[in-house]
Subunit: 340 residues, 2 copies
DNA sequence: TTGTATGCGTTATCAC
DNA sequence: GTGATAACGCATACAA
């Protein structure tokens, strides 16, 4: 009677009348293999329903077939969209996705990640902003021998290790759209200091104003940290200004929702009294009222591409994945020409 | 010169002048061990910074130190909150989190999950609704020897394998609140057929009306599938009714946002012309305008508890984790007495 | 092209 | 209490 356990490489070898190594060669698609032998072994594999044991492979290869997402709690929607994108690519492969939040702030962050990577021996990791902007982290991955791909708002690494978006140009275009509508008094709610994305988006904002010859006093710039609450605070400050800005660009949608909240509390009409422009195009953007005009950050595509850079090209031919993704303006109802 | 690789159990054994097995005993906290030996070995472990290799352990134990989240794409926010809750518990432990979306619909769903569990040999899994309602899935986990905890809106399993919320009572209470405000003509946007959560929430809705002696014609019930769009469609249908309902309860926040959208498009004042009540208390609820009165589904606590049921009690004493969690009404601004 | 011997780092068996 | 030795399932070096 057959044991009820799952078949191992030994079972296959015995059934097929070959050695373990030959089976191993079939599994790993070794090129130097007699076609007949291969077919014979593959038949047995199929009949037995044999699947290589990942734990044993991990031990022997000193490498796990796991892809990690390492992030420090940026926007919840973003994390999820990244996961989805990666999972789309991983579906049907032998890879699994493991999620690893870390605390950028913490002085031991780098050591934490190192311990994680060394212990789990991940096949590769996707680094999310803002920690993806940390060069030391990338070097760490390299030195450990863990593949990595960084996601971010600017090209911080070579194309094999980076998927980036053109935030600066995209924001410039979006703010230019505001200007073309007639806005001259435009507020900015910027992202956290030290974030590359915040920097790029602010630069795009300034580019647009500069190109139009519009001055941009500091009073029209409010700090935020990408949260709804910080957007709310920033909105309070900006809408207290006299004269009030007729439009506000927010470095992400969540803060835009916060500004919108303030506007509503004050009975302001959006977009009549105030136009609001966001960034990200999370689901929130389309679900609030009025639907938010925003810049779509192609995070799903970026995540898919990142995953492909990691696991793709394993079948021999290197896949040429794009490493630059274009953010585009999504025009909805929160922007209109200034009144009167 | 020392090799640069990480120390293994052999290194520790050699340094400590004991056998591998003894080191193994120290690691696994074997009770029958000389205190002196233990101390000696532990000192060496600390000095060398030795950490057991998870891949080798997984192979030997036929069990991986991974916790899985198996879900079929329910609300994005929910997935994320669950992940966070679990990760809080896993932080600092030797466990990692792997995410596994599946396609309920698919005829091979059960086989997919089986293959996943058998191959990865997970330590345990958290099952999210609605697939957590599938008893066959639970039995499958059991038969494979994979621990599991189901999350859901009713007690579907014994406390060791279940964390549940009291949706029915919570909704009854919430709808009673609407009734006490003076509403008599209340619409319902229900969740997908076949979902236990949808059933429970609808039952709670009906309980409240029945207790108040209010009839509930079918015309006031609209179908939804927990998405914004379905909420929008349902809202269109309900707000076309004459007389128009003065309040609508939606089985989740996302659909409530959809209904709110319709109200806005028609220039209806919320809550003046229409009160809206949601369920979940996702971040969306507090971020839309007006802030949504909703029932808080304690998903984070439930997830933490689920994780603890899985990995807790490993140190000997079984932890007594609650398996029932109370949903509570969060009163915000989307509900008011009916006008006139 | 295929097989043999050995290693990967841990736990389990069963002596001592 | 502790240690030698054999699993665990696969891959690699080297030989045939």
């Amino acid at each position: 009677m057959k044991k009820s356990r799952q078949p191992t490489i030994n079972d296959v070898a015995r059934e097929a009348g070959v050695s373990k190594k030959t089976v191993s060669r079939v599994i790993n698609r070794s090129p130097l293999l007699n076609e007949e032998t291969r077919a014979k072994v593959e038949a047995v594999i199929a009949r037995l329903g044999y699947v290589p044991n990942p734990q044993a492979r991990a031990l022997a290869l000193r490498r796990n077939f796991l892809i990690g997402v390492v992030h420090d709690n940026p926007n919840a929607q973003t994390v999820l969209r990244v996961q989805r994108g990666i999972l789309e690519v991983l579906r049907g492969t032998e890879f699994e996705l493991v999620v690893r939040p870390v605390d950028r702030g913490s002085p031991t962050m780098l050591e934490d990640v190192r311990a994680f990577l060394e212990r789990q021996r991940l096949f590769g990791v996707v680094l999310l902003p803002p920690i993806s902007e940390n060069d030391a982290l990338a070097e760490l991955c390299d030195s450990i021998g863990c593949r990595y791909v960084r996601m971010g708002s600017a090209q911080l690494d070579d194309p094999d290790h980076m998927v980036a978006s053109n935030d600066r140009e995209a924001v410039k275009e979006a703010v230019t759209y505001l200007i073309e509508m007639g806005h001259r008094h435009i507020g900015l709610v910027q992202g956290p200091h030290g974030f590359r994305s915040a920097m790029e988006r602010r630069a795009g904002f300034e580019d647009a104003l500069e190109a139009a010859g519009i001055p941009h006093p500091k009073s029209l710039v409010a700090d935020g940290n990408y949260t709804f609450d910080s957007g709310f605070q920033a909105g309070v400050r900006l809408l207290d200004l006299l004269p009030r800005p007729t439009a506000i660009f927010c470095s992400n949608d969540e803060m835009a929702a916060g500004v919108l909240h303030v506007a509503r509390q004050r009975g302001l009409d959006v977009p009549g009294d105030l136009s609001i422009l966001g960034f990200d195009d999370t689901t929130l953007a389309a679900h609030i009222w009025p639907p938010l005009t925003t810049v779509r950050w192609p995070v799903s595509s970026m995540a898919r591409s990142a995953a492909l850079k990691l696991v793709g090209g394993l079948d021999g031919d290197a896949v040429e994945e794009p490493s630059m993704f274009l953010s585009t303006l999504i025009r909805r109802a929160s922007v209109a020409p200034p009144r009167g």
